[in-house]
């Protein structure tokens, strides 16, 4: 059976029941409901955290709300990355919690300049999307030299020049130890990885330096869970991350998909504790396992990353810094980790672009957050003055809302009336998206305004308006 949230009343019993409102909710019951829906965290209740009398309750609450997949926190002095903390196998069962963290590798054969350049590219990676900045999360330092001193030097350079938390990658305990020795204590890195051959030494190190520890057991799930049991119970290490092996090609890829799925299934449906840890995939494997040129390797790295993000990976180690490899990954990750219970929508209504007047064009779009933010940014870039009508398509994009009958004359009329836009402009012309051409008739019939079908993409609006909103053209339009 999958994880089921506790009943709000059971949570409520453990809260202070003072309705003090410090959490931002009107009363403790409302806060309990939020906790059960995972929309709030117990730490948001100040009395619970601060007052001695609630200590027991706080502990019980945390246990009740504990996710079947442990949340592991990686830290640098400047940043915190949380991975795992998942409750469900399927997104629609609740929601996914901590987005898959993407690590990019740096290796210890690189000279200082190469390292600095790579750090800069990793940290500067950024893509603006629905008002969010999509970024990379971690740096994975690999030891290709197998020389402890060289590794320590590399870790030192990276830690002094990057703000990101780290993964230290080597099977050699001496190398890992050398790396750990140069990190300050406000780092909590992930060590990659304990295997069937080195697990004692790596567990000792993880214990001594209080780090998170990855366990790698490629192709062998029995050994993987045996190591989990041994290390978690024998050493008391709970911050574990599991890697069942990322393969490509015949047999291998199927195994990887199977292993990730089985592990997450056992954690979330059977609540089997030895599988209840974040999972780590290595799309970087494409660089050693795929034959072909560099572009082939990058393609398969992108393919692996998307597959693993979709099938439960909580951390990915990648090599490509190519924009086209990473862009779809960070965008898909964003979408997958949105809350399916909430449509990504903005409130309907009229927005003023620049300083519109009574003769400025009136544009129509949907209230899907992405459509809206793209249209807004295109309009702002083009420095035009216009009115933008945002209709309530229930968070659907233009083409989908047209297909689903949510982009209609009635919806446009609703906004025209409520905003009194018909009193603010003198003309009666609506410009609708090219993808909504099919409903132009309906909009004309219902609103009585003339409808002009605009471009297919909003980046052409400015060009389009130059043509159509010129004085003579406009005269033609207003007269017909």
């Amino acid at each position: 059976m999958p994880w089921k949230p506790p009943a709000p009343i059971d949570i409520y019993q453990l809260l202070p029941k003072t309705n003090c409102g410090k959490c931002g909710e009107p009363n403790c019951m409302a806060f309990a409901v939020k906790l059960v829906n995972l929309e709030a965290k117990v730490e948001q209740c100040p009395p619970l955290v601060e007052e001695e009398t609630y200590r027991e309750n706080l502990k019980k609450l945390r246990e009740l709300l504990l996710p079947p997949v442990k949340e592991v926190v990686l830290r640098s002095p400047k940043k915190i990355v949380k991975v795992g903390g998942e409750y469900v196998l399927y997104r629609h069962e609740l929601r996914y919690m901590n987005p898959t963290a993407i690590a990019i590798d740096i290796d210890d054969s690189m000279d200082r300049d190469a390292i600095l350049k790579r750090i800069e590219r990793i940290e500067k990676f950024e893509y603006e999307y629905v008002g969010q900045k999509l970024k990379l999360d971690l740096i994975a330092i690999r030891s290709t030299t197998n020389d402890p001193k060289q590794f320590a030097k590399t870790v030192q350079i990276v830690s002094e020049n990057s703000s990101l938390p780290l993964i230290l990658c080597s099977l050699n305990p001496t190398v890992i130890e050398a790396g750990l020795n140069v990190l300050t204590q406000n780092y909590k890195p992930l060590i990659y990885a304990a295997t069937k051959d080195n697990w004692r030494e790596l567990a000792e190190l993880a214990k001594r330096f209080e780090t998170a520890l990855a366990i790698a057991s490629p192709g062998d799930l029995d050994t993987l869970v045996s190591l989990v049991k041994t290390i978690s119970e024998g050493y008391g290490i709970e911050d574990l991350v599991l890697d069942p092996g990322t393969f490509v090609g015949p047999n291998g890829l199927a195994y990887t998909l199977k292993a990730f799925t089985w592990l997450r299934y056992k954690a979330t449906y059977d609540l089997w504790k030895y599988t209840g840890y974040p999972l780590l995939g290595t799309p970087i494997s494409a660089w050693t396992l795929v034959e072909g040129d560099v572009t082939d390797k990058m393609w398969w790295e992108a393919v692996l990353a998307t597959m693993l993000t979709t099938r439960y990976a909580d951390i990915l180690i990648m090599h490509s810094l190519e924009g086209w490899v990473l862009l779809p990954q960070v965008m898909w990750r964003f979408g997958l980790y949105t809350d399916p219970r909430k449509p990504v929508a903005v409130p309907p209504g009229v927005r003023e672009i620049g300083k519109p007047n009574e003769m400025s064009p009136v544009l129509v779009t949907t209230n899907y957050a992405l459509t809206y933010s793209i249209v807004m940014s295109d309009l702002e870039k083009s420095k035009i003055n216009a009115w933008l009508i945002v209709i309530d398509t229930e968070g659907l994009a233009v083409d989908v809302s047209v297909a689903a009958k949510k982009f209609t004359g009635d919806k446009v009329l609703e906004v025209l009336k409520s905003s009194k836009l018909d009193e603010k402009v003198k003309h009666r012309i609506l410009i609708i998206p090219g993808k909504a051409a099919r409903v132009s008739g309906d909009i004309e019939d219902v609103t009585g305004w003339k409808v002009v079908v605009g471009p297919m993409d909003s980046n052409e609006i400015s060009k389009f308006l130059d043509k159509i909103w010129a004085s003579e053209k406009l005269k033609e339009l207003t007269q017909t």
Binding site: R118, E204, V228, S285, V303, G335, A404
Partner: protein
């Protein structure tokens, strides 16, 4: 310069404590300090060390009270190279550290494979018809038949039919992304040639003809013309053919009626029926033939049940596919993905209204700006971004259980066919250790 985590007052604890663990911790610190001093990379603050005490008293005490130690850690290089003045201390410290540890043995566990309980089965749907079945196709495609969610690889269960990939062809010239224009060139003016290239050169397993010229707001070409276009494709290629309308509900009814009437035994796939259509005006005619229909319910599992329930009035369940729609990555892919996952699980849990193979209009991926727009050079050429976007969108749908994919770019088809081969092979890596090659490999930085 860094500090150590285990800052302790060494002298305070030493020599009078039988707590083995604590003692070994203390000694561990000493060893590390010695090591660090040797490397010259650590500065120590607030640490009070009294090496003499440790050196002389501890080992004797511990050795008396503990069993013979089992060596766990090989001495690190740095210790072996310790400077003369600390060598003795380091050696002792290391020995004690080893003694102080409890030896952990591997506790073995077996990983029991998941036991999934499902009762429903997705219907098997056949696209196309061979000569013996009254059609003229050389090959047919069978989809569906699933009894478990996709890609679980449970022992004893093999999904009966793998997914299939078809190539998109339009009945008139439309604006297409550059990446697609480059590949098909002049064939884009000639749907038959386009279809032939798809099948003969790029291995499409079916052809998706989109009769968009019938759209009243485009060319409004009559249903008779649509029939001619379908016929041309049926002549040009011998794979199953999907006949798609314009999306105008009234016109599509007229077009579909003519198409199934003209080709009643070809196993034509009608793309698609939706709740805006007058279903009673088209379904009875489709029912008389061996055509398959795709029921279209954009991102709504509830509406999917509704349309399927209606269509059952006329058309047998094993001639219905379901399309829950998909957007390209960044453009609502998660809605379609989650709708598909929900619908397939519902189907397997016994909801008969959802027990249909999924169609995916993967070409929608090109609706994402990132797939076709010229961007800053950092993001790479759109000729790569486009097909990659389509491929990755397909992969996401594949993992949600999609069965048939309508695709625009041959590279996407090629990758998806390799992927299918990989995913339908036995899940057993040939050389497990190779999964860790990346750890120490020299990988070029591009």
């Amino acid at each position: 310069m860094s500090e150590h985590k285990q800052r302790k007052n060494v002298s305070e604890k030493s020599g009078r404590d039988e707590d083995v663990q604590r003692v070994s911790e203390v000694i561990g610190v000493l060893a590390k300090i010695a090591e660090a001093l040797e490397k010259g990379i650590v500065e120590l603050y607030n640490i009070d060390i009294n090496i003499d005490e440790v050196e002389l008293k501890l080992p004797l005490q511990i050795l008396e009270t503990l069993p013979i130690p089992v060596a766990i850690t090989p001495p690190p290089k740095a210790v072996a190279e310790a400077k003369p003045e600390v060598q003795a201390g380091v050696a002792v410290a290391k020995a004690v550290e080893v003694v102080g540890k409890k030896v952990v043995e591997l506790m073995t566990l077996a990983f029991e494979e998941p036991k999934l309980k499902f009762v429903g089965k997705v219907v098997e749907v056949k696209l196309g018809a061979t000569r013996s079945e009254g059609g003229t196709r050389d090959r047919v495609i069978v989809l569906g038949g699933h009894e478990l969610p996709p890609y679980y690889y449970l022992t004893g269960y093999k999904p009966p039919y793998p997914p299939a990939f078809g190539g998109d062809v339009f009945d008139m010239k439309i604006s297409l992304p550059r990446a697609v224009r480059i590949v098909f060139g002049d064939a884009l003016d000639n749907p038959e040639e386009w279809a032939r290239i798809w099948v003969n050169k790029f291995g499409a397993e079916a052809v998706d003809l989109h009769l968009i010229s019938t759209d009243p707001s485009i060319k409004d070409s009559p249903p008779e013309e649509a029939v001619k276009n379908v016929d041309r494709i049926l002549q040009a290629v011998k794979v199953p053919v999907i006949a798609g309308g314009s999306g105008n509900p009234e016109k599509d009814v007229a077009v579909f009626n003519k198409v199934v009437e003209a080709f009643p035994s070809e196993g034509i796939v009608i793309n698609s029926l939706n709740l805006d259509m007058d279903l009673e005006k088209v379904c009875p005619n489709i029912a008389k033939t061996n055509a398959v229909v795709i029921d279209f319910s954009p991102m709504s599992v509830e509406k999917a049940e509704e349309i399927n329930r209606k269509v059952y009035t006329w058309i047998p369940r094993n001639r219905i596919m379901l399309d829950l729609n998909i957007g390209g990555i960044g453009y609502g892919t998660e809605y379609g993905f989650t709708a598909m996952e929900r619908a397939r699980l519902g189907a397997l849990l016994g909801n008969e209204l959802l027990q249909h193979p999924f169609n995916v209009g993967a070409a929608n991926a090109w609706g994402a700006r990132e797939a076709w727009m010229a961007m800053d050079p950092y993001w790479g050429p759109r000729e790569i971004r486009g097909p990659l976007w389509e491929t990755l969108t397909c992969i996401i749908c594949l993992l949600a259980g999609a069965d048939y994919f309508m695709m625009l770019h041959p590279l996407s088809v090629k990758v998806m066919k390799s992927l299918r081969e990989y995913l339908f092979s036995e899940p057993k890596p040939r050389d497990p250790e190779k999964a860790l090659d990346w750890l120490s490999a020299k990988i070029p930085v591009v």
